[in-house]
Amino acid sequence: MNVSGERTFAAPRNTVWHVLNDPASMAKTMPGVESFDIHDDRRWTANVKIPLGLGGLKMKVDMEKIEEREPEFAKLAVKGNGVGAIMNMETSFELSDAADGATSMAWAAEVKILGPVGSMGQRVLQPIVNQQVQHVLTALDAQVQEAVKQ
């Protein structure tokens, strides 16, 4: 499944870049994070409980930054392991200057869910992903605004 979009943040590009590349800030944007470990500046692990249907899907998610052009582009490989589900995702974002000192972020992700959960969830996956993306972007906006204040 491919999802993509564009979002503008009322903050300079360096600030947005810093938030996007700070694992601690990113952890606050992800849905259902229960714990977060930083291995080095390119590799992080999170234990998450992704809202799915009436229950939650517990996953151990490993993230690795596989490409970077500061301060405009980064690509991450994300691999999640849960009961009955494997998530493979490649996501990237590209930052550019927008009007009035704002920053525009074009982002894209290719998400693959394998296993029985993926099989069962085919019909509901797209709306769930869309909803989670909105949550992440809203939380990201909040993190950016917090960074602006500091």
Partner: protein, 804 residues
């Protein structure tokens, strides 16, 4: 809506209980909720089993850690593939090499090969806890590329599932009868069909698989309460793998909520239950979830037919065909590659072509294993032969009805030996087709076409036929693997008179709703001259106490022959013993002078000299002093019915593979909306000829069920996988099984052509659904004018067809 039309039977119906639609004995308990299904069986202290399943279609297992799950209060224990590999041997393989070389265990060992494959089993005090605890089992995988398309299985760069087999080829065999090259030379036309595809689907019993297994440490015996429908096969698979004698495996069933063949291959799960019952020293209960059933339990065979050539005369006379069949076995050979020979039971379909060549190849893929599914392997082949008929008719601009009638095996040809040595026992295919056409009003179709046209619709009519070959000769397995030591078939029944004259029947079969208790009682009642109500047929199956033979079970359309013939044999033995006893009691009256009547035995010339069954039972069982010493009577008779089979000729792949051939002809009328491709089945007829019908209502129920199966498969039901090997239709939301409101107006008809080869003139039946799948294909072809090449035709595919 459903209506029933029964045509007058062309043969005289035997007087008596046989042939009557007696009310089913089973229904009282079932309708009152008093049936006992496997999930109803409870034991003190039992644990519930849940499987941890693979999320990958293909991956190495690099680590398994069950410690977190086992640490939970209420979790009794776990079982991993490594333990299974230490405690058991791989399952015996039916296949010759290369398929023979694969190593199949009850749980994945070192590698997973399809999404949903059981990897670890967890047992806990509640079902919910077992499921929750299974989420704590940590399994690390190293993903491998998945093989999803069987047509790519033998490519040099294809992922290999079973390194032990050296590739994905599991079994291959060339079948050739007659002289196809001579047929080509004689032909006016050669019709070529590049590819036909029969899709993957399955029947869906109301009750999923399950078991409750107890282990008796004192005697080292497992008692397996299960809904497995072929315990004889399960025992043969499980015993050697578990390194135990078959007497240590006791199979018990009572009521089973549908089987359709897919409950034959639950032996891996049963082994897991057995190992855990012994390891944990407590009963273990497993009930399969619906999604697990879809993901992992024995799909029907998916098959392609490539490069088909049909030799035909201009007038539509069929001379022969040549094709390459490619069969997708899925990840494991759990009953395969028997599908590679089962089709040959119906090699020519219903037609007189004599020159046939079929190159059969079966490969493994990263999908759920396949196994028998109602119409097993013959359904695919008969769909192919029917497709050939309609494509040939279209290419030659001939009427499909005329092509069929020109080529049908004729009633006067019966018994008919097919090119590969099978013997079709009886039937009048042309008359069966005429009745089906009559039931849908074939003569008025021109007017209905015009009417549909005026409403913007396109009307199409299609015919589908199947031969429901029943009572296997297991010797056909030697065509797959000459080293196998299986042949013939058998079934057992016992019939006895108990102390108070109760007539008690025990069957070796495992009925799943087919009404065995009723039809068995009808047969017994006719022989003993009593009412079926007086006959007590024990419910279910118990291999420990019941009569039981190597091929006992309920599968492959054979109860009406094997089961009822065993009942007939045992009852006739009992009748003879009753007369022998009465003769002695009456003081030396010969058997010929006695008759059974009114629940007892009497002297023909002196009806007052009457000994009720109660007296007979009491004398032999409880009051036998003074009886003649040489009176060889127990009133407890066991009979093994053994069909008359020879071992097939392995070199020529020639011989009689089944005893009876019921025929089903279905006709469908559809109206297609050319704008959207959606279509409605506006008329439907199904005519069945299964020889002598013991209980016509039960037969008709099977015909309706098979029709529903066909329509589901033709329109809605398909197991679709994505490129990574994820099953996209693993539940009833995406896998739509037709319900009552989906059924079209259905007219059923019957003809009775008794089998000359069976003791009661009966034939096995119930697997005629393939006829309906083809009838829909043919009707769509008729309506759209486009050649239909797939067995599954949802609305979008019909729309695509019309864009060509």
């Amino acid at each position: 809506m459903s209506e029933t039309t029964l045509a007058p039977a062309p043969v005289e119906v035997q007087k008596g209980w046989g042939g009557q639609s007696v009310k089913r004995k089973e229904d009282k308990r079932l309708l009152q909720g008093e049936g006992v299904f496997v999930d109803d069986v409870k034991r003190h202290g039992m644990g519930y089993l849940h499987f941890v399943r693979s999320p990958y279609a293909h991956a190495h297992i690099t680590r398994i850690d069950v410690s977190a799950a086992e640490a939970i209060d209420g979790v009794y224990g776990t079982l991993t593939g490594e333990e299974v590999a230490a405690l058991t041997d791989p399952f015996f393989q039916i296949s010759s090499a290369p398929g023979a070389n694969i190593k199949d265990y009850a749980l994945a060992v070192g590698k997973v090969r399809y999404v949903g494959e059981p990897v670890v089993a967890v047992v806990a005090e509640t079902r919910e806890l077992a499921r929750d605890a299974s989420e704590l089992v940590e399994v690390d995988y190293e993903a491998l590329p998945a093989l999803v398309d069987a047509r790519r299985a033998q490519d040099s760069d294809a992922p290999v599932l079973h390194e032990d087999a050296g590739g994905n080829l599991m079994w291959t065999g060339l079948y050739s009868w007659g002289d196809f090259d001579a047929a080509l030379a004689e032909a006016d036309r050669v019709v070529k069909i590049p590819e036909l595809h029969f899709h993957r689907f399955n029947s869906t019993p109301l009750e999923c698989d399950g078991a409750l297994v107890e282990y008796n440490r004192g005697v080292g015996q497992w008692t397996i309460h299960t809904n497995n429908q072929f315990p004889g096969f399960a025992a043969i698979m499980m015993g050697p793998a578990m390194r135990t004698g078959l007497d240590k495996l006791r199979f018990v069933t009572q009521d089973i909520g549908g089987g359709f063949g897919n409950k034959i291959t639950s032996h891996p799960q049963l082994v897991v239950c057995c190992l855990l019952a012994r390891k944990l020293n407590r009963p273990v209960q497993w009930t399969e979830w619906r999604t697990d059933f879809h993901l992992s339990m024995s799909h029907g065979n998916e098959r392609w037919f490539h490069d088909t050539e049909v030799a035909v005369k201009d007038d539509g006379t069929l001379l022969g065909f040549r094709t390459k069949a490619l069969d997708d076995a899925g990840a494991w050979l759990r009953y395969e590659p028997l599908g590679g020979v089962i089709w040959a039971q119906v090699t020519p379909g219903m037609y007189r072509w004599r020159h046939i060549e079929l190159d059969f190849t079966q490969v493994a893929t990263n999908k759920a294993p396949v196994s028998p599914n109602r119409g097993y392997s013959r359904m695919q082949h008969l769909w192919f032969t029917e497709r050939v008929i309609d494509i040939v008719a279209r290419e030659l601009d001939l009427d499909p009805v005329d092509v069929r009638k020109r080529n049908y095996i004729r009633a006067e040809d019966m018994p008919y030996e097919t090119p590969n040595g099978c013997v079709y026992d009886s039937g009048d295919y042309a008359a069966t087709l005429d009745l089906a056409l009559q039931l849908i009003g074939y003569d008025s179709l021109a007017g209905r076409r015009a009417d549909a046209e005026a409403r913007g619709k396109r009307l199409g009519v299609g015919i589908g036929s199947t031969l429901d070959s029943g009572t296997n000769n297991f010797g056909q397995s030697q065509l797959i693997n000459p080293e196998l030591q299986f042949s013939g078939n058998n079934e057992v029944a016992t019939v006895k008179l108990d102390i108070f004259g109760e007539i008690v029947v025990t069957l070796g079969t495992t009925p799943q709703g087919q009404g065995h208790e009723t039809t068995a009682a009808q047969v017994v009642a006719d022989i003993l001259s009593c009412s079926p109500d007086d006959v007590h047929v024990r419910a279910g199956h118990d291999s420990y106490w019941n009569s039981h033979a190597g091929f006992s079970g309920t599968y492959a359309s054979q109860f009406a022959v094997t089961g009822l013939s065993a009942v007939k044999g045992a009852t006739e033995m009992l009748a003879a013993e009753i007369k022998k006893l009465a003769g002695a009691v009456f003081g030396g009256v010969p058997a010929e002078a006695l008759e059974l009547a009114d629940g007892g035995v009497r002297i023909k010339d002196n009806p007052d000299a009457f000994l009720p069954f109660m007296a007979c039972g009491a004398i032999i069982n409880a009051n036998n002093a003074g009886l003649p010493e040489d009176l060889d009577v127990t009133l407890n008779c066991r009979y093994v019915y053994r069909p008359p089979f020879e071992v097939p000729d392995v070199e020529r792949k020639f011989g009689n593979l089944t005893l009876t051939y019921a025929v089903q002809i279905h006709v469908a009328v559809v109206e297609v909306d050319p704008e959207t491709g959606s279509y409605e089945i506006v008329d439907y007829a199904a005519v069945d000829d299964c020889g002598k019908r013991i209980n016509p209502q039960i037969v008709e129920g099977q015909v309706m069920g098979a029709t529903a199966q066909a329509l589901g498969a033709a329109v809605h039901e398909t197991y679709e996988y994505d490129e990574d090997g994820n099953l996209l239709t693993p539940n009833f939301y995406d896998y739509h099984v037709p319900h009552a409101l989906d059924m079209p107006p259905l007219a059923t008809g019957a003809i009775e052509s008794p089998s000359p080869f069976t003791p009661l003139g009966t034939k096995g039946m119930g697997e005629g659904g393939g006829a309906g799948i083809h009838a829909i294909c043919a009707a769509i072809q008729d309506a759209t004018g486009q050649i239909v090449t797939d067995s599954h035709n949802p609305y979008q595919r019909v729309w695509e067809l019309m864009q060509q």
